[in-house]
């Protein structure tokens, strides 16, 4: 201790500057304030909360035994429709996202206004929830799978286009320059210069998005956009909880199957 006291006074070492500490402190303050204000002002009805254990017990009692007899009639076709919505939606999104992704890549289209326009399209596609896209398309095309497919497609364009554009921007210029030096036209530079470099990224983006879309298409039916969500909505409105249980099990199985398919395909193809 005595040694420490006699040592020359070095300036205290701090990991962060005063500005950085202040910024962090402001973030902490805002977070705490947001939590406190939210917790105080949120409307929670205590009677409902007190009732919860009873309601949960009631829920499970009504869900059991699961009503398997409905599978043949309505659930199977709705489940297949969900897969079709997810798959067709993903395919359409891939088709639409390819040109937008190319336009967003600065090394392919060295024209910043076009890049920004393409990025604006991608951002607006992503910032609208797929349920909102579904609402809009139900308004235009009426209830059904067509609205669901388009909702999935339009929500996915932003995701696929953004990742594909980034993959293109990361592609090495060497092979492309070699092709250009040999006098290759634009299409050949694309097919033999860029495509082999971004192909693995492209397929993994497509598979990843398909997996997400299977999950998302299961809920689109709640707003009338087809698939198993419609069956879920019907069962909920009739309070047929045993049928709801069947549908939930079906959704879990389809999500797990989709994940297995994606991992297997990724292992073999990419």
């Amino acid at each position: 201790m005595a040694y420490a006291a006699n040592a020359p006074a070095y300036p205290a070492w701090n990991r962060f500057t005063r500005g950085q500490r202040l910024a962090r402190f402001v973030v902490y303050l805002v977070i705490v304030a947001a939590i406190v204000v939210s917790a105080q002002s949120v409307e929670i009805i205590p009677e409902f909360l007190a009732d919860a254990p009873e309601q949960v017990a009631d829920l499970f009692a009504r869900m059991w035994p699961v009503d398997w007899s409905h599978y043949e009639g309505s659930v199977h076709s709705a489940l297949m429709e969900t897969i079709h919505i997810a798959s067709l939606g993903t395919l359409l999104a891939l088709l639409l996202a390819l040109p937008v992704g190319i336009l967003a890549a600065h090394n392919l289209v060295p024209f910043t206004p076009v890049n920004l326009l393409a990025k604006l399209i991608l951002v607006s596609s992503r910032s609208v929830n797929s349920l909102v896209w579904a609402l809009l398309f139900v308004g235009i095309f009426g209830p059904g799978a067509l609205a669901g497919t388009l909702a999935i497609a339009f929500r996915s364009i932003g995701f696929v286009g953004k990742l594909f554009g980034e993959a293109l921007e990361e592609a090495q210029a060497g092979p492309v320059e070699a092709l250009a030096a040999a006098g290759a036209p634009w299409t050949s530079r694309m097919t033999f210069g860029y495509w082999p470099q971004v192909r693995p990224a492209f397929w993994s983006i497509a598979l990843f998005r398909w997996d997400i879309n299977v999950r998302e298409s299961a809920v689109l039916g709640l707003v009338g956009a087809g698939g198993i969500g419609m069956a879920l909505d019907a069962a909920l409105n009739l309070f047929q909880w045993d049928r709801v249980a069947l549908i939930l099990i079906a959704i879990v199985i389809i999500v797990i199957v989709a994940e297995i398919v994606v991992t297997q395909v990724r292992k073999r193809v990419i």
Binding site: V27, I45, A52, Q55, F141, L222
Partner: protein, 283 residues
């Protein structure tokens, strides 16, 4: 001759892409037929589209009080669900990390995480609406479950990828387990954790505007009710507000990332607005 012929095509094409293309085309035709999607329906829809958009615009902000109330409730749901979700996900994610915990701890934790991730938040919200009634609480609980699934999974992966050296060094000093975590593990995963947490807040904000569709509070209920009443100009106003809220949320999230990951100061934001962004891709 044969050698020349063999090398004349420097890019030999495989047959498989063609086969796959044909199979894909057959599938598309089959699926469209199954779902009764046809060009006529698209055409009829496109005729409707003009009518639909003319009713969307101009947006009608006349009932802005209801709109603001719904947006605030969505914001509350997002904040509280993220807080609860993060607080619960950290111990679960830690328990699921195979490099720090024994097998009998990791398995139950992993099952919890997988179960939390298996349903879309809106479906979880349906179940919570039944359990705790209509209103914000159901939305908070549903999004808490979603947050546990997402943050728990990524936090586990982050912990499993840390360097063992620092952990061993802290352990070698005879530090208890809590100190190993605090000085050996957490500093290594902190910046990634900020990434997940801000991303999850962003994602919860998006979903909190949607859980209202099934009665779990927030602006979604107002949106769906307006939509079912064909009150399209109000729908448009709600959509614009939701998108604005989400964009503000995204800006705040990137500001937090800049402060904690890139060590930015408040002055940096005024000086050069744009900061280096790190994105976790959204789902």
């Amino acid at each position: 001759m044969t050698t020349v012929a063999a090398s004349s095509d420097p890019f030999p094409r495989s047959v498989w892409p063609k086969v796959a293309g044909i199979l894909l085309a057959v599938y598309v035709i089959y699926a469209c037929a199954q779902m009764e999607i046809s060009w006529e329906r698209v055409e009829i829809g496109l005729h409707n589209a003009a009518h639909f958009f003319s009713r969307l615009f101009p947006p009608n902000f006349a009932r802005w009080e209801l709109l603001v109330k719904g947006l605030l409730e969505s914001l509350q749901i997002a904040v509280l669900a993220s807080t609860l979700g993060i607080v619960l996900a950290l111990p679960i994610g830690l328990a699921a990390a195979r490099n720090l915990m024994p097998v009998w701890v990791t398995w139950p934790a992993r099952i919890v995480i997988v179960m939390a991730r298996s349903f879309h938040p809106v479906i979880v919200a349906i179940l919570f609406v039944k359990a705790v009634g209509f209103g914000a609480l159901a939305g908070i609980l549903a999004l808490t479950v979603a947050s546990i699934g997402f943050i728990g999974k990524l936090f586990t992966e982050a912990i499993e990828e840390i360097s063992e050296k620092q952990v061993e060094a802290v352990r070698a000093t005879g530090a208890p387990f809590a100190s190993v975590l605090w000085f050996g593990v957490l500093p290594q995963v902190f910046s990634r954790f900020i990434g997940f947490a801000t991303y999850q807040l962003d994602s919860n904000l998006r979903n909190s505007t949607m859980v209202g569709i099934v009665g779990a509070g927030g602006i979604g209920g107002t949106l769906f009710a307006a939509f079912q009443r064909f009150d399209y100009d109000y729908v448009c106003a709600i959509l614009i507000s939701i998108i604005a809220l989400i964009m503000i949320g995204e800006l705040l999230a990137s500001a937090v990332r800049a402060i904690f990951i890139d060590n930015a100061t408040l002055r940096d934001f005024f000086r050069r607005g744009a900061t280096r962004e790190r994105h976790l891709e959204e789902d």
